[in-house]
C-alpha cells in the first residue's frame, strides 16, 4: 500500500494499542469503574458527594407518583435493604415499572432526595411469552398465600 496509507495505518494501530492498554489497566481498578451504586452503598456514604453518579435497584412498589400536568415523576429506588427517594422530570423508558430494575443518574440533594437527570430501565435476563409470565405470577401468589396460612 502507499507509504502515506501505511503510516496512517501504523498510527491507528499504535493509538489503538495504547487506548486498549490503558483501558484494560483502568478495568483492573474496580473502584474507578462502578457503573451504579446501590441504595445501601449510598446510605453508607460510598457514593461521591457533590458529583453526579448513578443509583441502581428496583422501583419500590407503590412509590410512583406522577404530578398532574407535567412530566415530573417521583418514585423510590430500593435494594430491599435501603430506599432512596427520587425526583425526575422527563421521558421514562417503556420498561420503567414498579418492581422492575432502574438505573438513575443525578445528584443526591441535601434533603436526601436523589435529583435525577436520566432514568434508565434495567431488565432481567428472562425471556418468555406473556402466558408463561402470567402462570409464574399466579404460582408465586398461590405459594405466598399458602405460606401465610
Amino acid at each position: 500500500m502507499k507509504p502515506r496509507h501505511k503510516k496512517l495505518a501504523a498510527i491507528v494501530a499504535g493509538v489503538t494499542a495504547l487506548g486498549v492498554a490503558s483501558i484494560l489497566v483502568l478495568n483492573a481498578f474496580q473502584s474507578n469503574l462502578v457503573f451504579f451504586f446501590s441504595p445501601t452503598q449510598v446510605m453508607a456514604n460510598e457514593a461521591p458527594v457533590g458529583k453526579s453518579f448513578r443509583i441502581g435497584g428496583l422501583v419500590e412498589m407503590g412509590s410512583i407518583q406522577r404530578e398532574d400536568g407535567s412530566t415530573t415523576v417521583r418514585f423510590a429506588v430500593t435494594d430491599t435493604a435501603e430506599i432512596i427517594p427520587v425526583i425526575y422530570t422527563g421521558i421514562l423508558p417503556d420498561l420503567f415499572k414498579e418492581g422492575k430494575g432502574v438505573v438513575a443518574q443525578g445528584k443526591l440533594s441535601d434533603n436526601g432526595i436523589f435529583e435525577a437527570d436520566e432514568v434508565l430501565a434495567k431488565h432481567d435476563e428472562n425471556y418468555m411469552p406473556p402466558e408463561a409470565a402470567e402462570a409464574l405470577e399466579q404460582a408465586a401468589k398461590a405459594q405466598k398465600a399458602s405460606l401465610t396460612q
Binding site: 500500500m1 496509507h5 501505511k6 503510516k7 495505518a9 501504523a10 491507528v12 494501530a13 489503538t16 494499542a17 487506548g19 486498549v20 483501558i23 484494560l24 478495568n27 474496580q30 469503574l33 462502578v34 457503573f35 451504579f36 451504586f37 446501590s38 441502581g56 421521558i91 421514562l92 423508558p93 417503556d94 420498561l95 420503567f96 438505573v103 436520566e118 432514568v119 434508565l120 430501565a121 434495567k122 431488565h123 432481567d124 435476563e125 428472562n126 425471556y127 418468555m128 411469552p129 406473556p130 408463561a132 409470565a133 402470567e134
Partner: protein, 248 residues
C-alpha cells in the same frame, strides 16, 4: 485409512481442501439462516417484558458470541504461527480478523438499537458494552498493524502479539455482568444453569448461532484462499493453478 493431517498445513493442499469444503458450508449457512429466522419470527412468541423488540436477540447474541469465539480462534492460530513459524496458521489469523470485527460491530450496532427502546439509551459506558467496544479496537488494531508492515512474516508476528495480549479481554467481556454492576443484564444461557428463555425462543437463537458459525467458516475459508494466493504467488503450484485456469 490413515489421513496425514500435516499435509494440510501446506498452503497448497489447504487451498484445494478449503475450496472443496466451501460449498457444503454455504449450503448449511443458507439452510440454517432460513430455519433460524423462520423460528425467530413465526414460531417464537412475543416476550412478556420486551414485546417484539426482543427479536433483535436472533442477531445480537449470535453476533456477540461470534465476536468472542473468533477472537480466541484468531489468537490461537496467531500463537501457533508465532511459536512454530508456520505460515498457514498466521494466514488463518489474518483471514479471521475482518469477520470478527464485523460481528463485533454488529453486536454493538444491534445492541444500541435494542438498548434505546428497552433501556432508554443507545449507549452506556458499563463494563459489558465498554469491553465489547475494546474488542472492536483490538480487531482494528490487529488489522491496521498487519497492513502497515510490508514483510508478511514480520506482520504475522506483530499481529500475533496484539492477538495474544488481547485475549484477556474475552473473559472480561463474559464475566463483566457478574464482576461489576452493569446496565446489561446477566446471561440468559449458560453452561451450568437452566436457560432463562422459553424453548422456541432459545431454539431460534441457537439455530442462528450455528448459522453464524457456518457463515463465518465460508467467508474465512474464502478469504484465506485469497491470502494464500497473494502470499504464495511466486510458487510453482500457483503458477500451475494459473495455467489450468487460463486453459479453461
Amino acid at each position: 485409512m490413515a489421513i496425514n493431517w500435516f499435509k494440510y498445513s501446506s498452503p497448497a493442499s489447504f487451498y484445494s481442501l478449503a475450496g472443496k469444503m466451501i460449498p457444503i458450508f454455504v449450503f448449511l449457512a443458507v439452510v440454517l439462516t432460513i430455519a433460524g429466522l423462520y423460528v425467530g419470527f413465526f414460531v417464537a412468541p412475543t416476550d412478556f417484558q420486551q414485546g417484539e423488540a426482543y427479536r433483535i436477540i436472533f442477531i445480537h447474541v449470535p453476533a456477540a458470541w461470534m465476536s468472542m469465539f473468533l477472537y480466541v480462534i484468531m489468537a490461537v492460530w496467531a500463537g501457533i504461527g508465532l511459536a512454530f513459524n508456520t505460515r498457514l496458521s498466521s494466514m488463518m489469523a489474518t483471514a479471521i480478523a475482518p469477520t470478527g470485527a464485523m460481528f463485533t460491530f454488529l453486536a454493538l450496532w444491534t445492541g444500541a438499537l435494542w438498548g434505546k427502546p428497552m433501556w432508554g439509551t443507545w449507549w452506556v459506558w458499563d463494563a459489558r458494552l465498554t469491553s465489547e467496544l475494546i474488542l472492536l479496537f483490538l480487531y482494528i488494531g490487529f488489522m491496521s498493524l498487519q497492513a502497515a508492515i510490508d514483510d508478511p512474516r514480520r506482520a504475522d508476528k506483530a499481529g500475533a502479539i496484539i492477538a495474544l495480549v488481547g485475549v484477556v479481554n474475552i473473559p472480561i467481556i463474559y464475566f463483566s455482568v457478574q464482576w461489576w454492576n452493569t446496565l446489561h443484564q446477566g446471561a440468559s444461557v449458560s453452561l451450568n444453569q437452566a436457560p432463562a428463555m422459553a424453548t422456541t425462543m432459545l431454539t431460534g437463537m441457537m439455530i442462528m448461532v450455528f448459522a453464524s458459525w457456518m457463515y463465518s467458516i465460508v467467508v474465512i475459508l474464502k478469504r484465506v484462499r485469497v491470502i494464500i494466493l497473494e502470499r504464495e504467488s511466486h510458487t510453482a503450484w500457483v503458477a500451475e493453478l494459473r495455467k489450468k485456469e487460463a486453459a479453461r
